[in-house]
Amino acid sequence: MNKEISVTINGEAYQHSVPIRLLLVDFIRDIAGLTGTHVGCTFEGVCGACTVHLDGEAVKSCLMLAVQADGRSITTIEGLAIDGKLHPLQKAFNDHHALQCGFCSAGILMNMAEFVRKNRKSTEEEIRSALIGNLCRCTGYAHIVDAIKEVAGMPGKSA
């Protein structure tokens, strides 16, 4: 029913006995107390608000159990800025007003932080395609795409 796990989140080790059925996103929010990772759709895993990095890969933390993260390293939105210095995407989101209510922002930033690490020069089509797993209900995506273009767009074409 319960299992002892040790998970590193943003460089900090967490050791806990957790119910096997506990979702990773609930471990992050309720046990680690890191509420920047959001829960949107809660079921289908379609909204992307709960996206975190699992050993550097963008994954939806509502589609994993906490016990599956045993021994692994997770980065959440709270760990994206390093020593108080914003990630280039975070700065670009500010500059381009790429958020309104902010509910989806953490998930989008975590997904796209992995994307821009792997894709330095992307077309707008590639950026939009990379955003399929994240729903935003305020912005219409235009400013989000502009912000990502600034960090990972084609040279000379950035907004």
Binding site: M1, K3, P19, I20, R21, L23, T42, F43, E44, G45, G48, T51, E57, A58, V59, K60, C62, L63, M64, L65, V67, Q68, D70, N111, E114, F115, S129, A130, I132, G133, N134
Partner: protein, 295 residues
């Protein structure tokens, strides 16, 4: 949504350990692959497993290997790796077409080819693709091994030939003849949505550029993924420039496929989708086959 109580969780690191864990845990134990479908079902309590056996750390189930011209893809290989593997281009490029548009980036990081085949969801890309390109599945249990063609393995939606005590360890593809090509395309309600219909074509050409081997497979059907045999027969002897013959073949494929009506598409519209998608993938597969072997 929250899972029902789960009694045990095992994270084996080898196939043998996984089989042993299953034997120890007994009934209502489930293997967990990438979890992008199964976790939804567990959260919705469609499935309430007593025990979960997580295959994510079984390294021998991951990776794409090329041997004597054939391909072996570990069952736990994620879509992301299949989508990125240029070695599949030509004969087995349909796998890349399909894998690169499954779900979204996050899903492709976790979701696996073996998981998708074992789940055999009606709106899934891997089942028709694997039938279309002539994939076999290697299954292992404590009793031994067996190999099944994808079209024998995949039954109706959510049904397969897998026994409860078996693990699908890999999918394999034979060495293709020199001029072979494949393609897959789906149609869904929004970009990269679950497919309402998905069609895969595999074309093998003779030295004169005529089709000597054709396979067409359709997904999104209430009967489960199926080959469109009538359309395949109509493609034999056809060349890429023979536009009217290709159109006739894909019309035949659509006409002969049993389709259902549901909230996403009625039966007649599904047939139209099959015809149009089949035309596109057959045309693309011809072009890829004509380029010859890459490796």
């Amino acid at each position: 949504m929250y899972p029902a109580v789960i009694d045990t969780y095992d994270a084996p690191t080898s196939v043998q350990e996984a089989l042993q864990a299953l034997a120890n845990r007994g009934s209502n134990s489930h293997f967990l692959a990438g979890g992008q479908s199964l976790m939804q079902a567990i959260k919705a309590r469609v499935i309430s497993p007593k025990s979960l056996i997580d295959l994510q750390h079984v390294v021998e189930l991951k990776g794409i290997q090329y041997k004597q011209g054939g391909v072996r893809i570990g069952a736990m290989t994620p879509y992301r790796d299949i989508a990125a593997d240029e070695g599949l281009d030509g004969a087995y490029q349909a796998l890349r077409d399909a894998a690169s548009h499954v779900g979204d980036r996050q899903v492709r990081n976790r979701g696996t080819i073996g998981g998708s085949l074992c789940w055999n969801y009606i709106a899934a890309c891997m089942p028709p693709t694997c039938i279309g390109i002539g994939t076999s599945l290697d299954l292992v249990s404590k009793k031994g091994k067996r190999t099944l063609l994808a079209e024998k393995f995949l039954h109706g939606p959510l049904e397969t030939a897998r026994h409860d005590d078996e693990i699908v360890v890999a999918v394999t593809l034979p060495a293709p003849s020199q001029f072979s090509g494949s393609a897959y395309k789906k149609w869904g309600l929004v970009t990269d949505a679950l497919p309402v219909v998905g069609v895969c074509a595999f074309i093998g050409l003779d030295n004169d550029g005529r089709c000597q081997l054709a396979r067409l497979a359709v997904g999104g059907l209430a009967t489960g993924p199926r080959r469109a045999n009538a359309g395949e027969k109509a493609l034999i002897g056809v060349s890429a420039t023979d536009a009217s013959a290709i159109s006739e073949a894909t019309e035949t494929a659509a006409a002969a496929t049993e389709t259902q009506s549901d909230m996403w598409a009625d039966a007649a519209y599904r047939k139209k989708l099959i015809e149009i998608l089949a035309h596109e993938v057959v045309t693309t597969a011809f072009a890829r086959a004509a380029r010859g072997k890459h490796s």
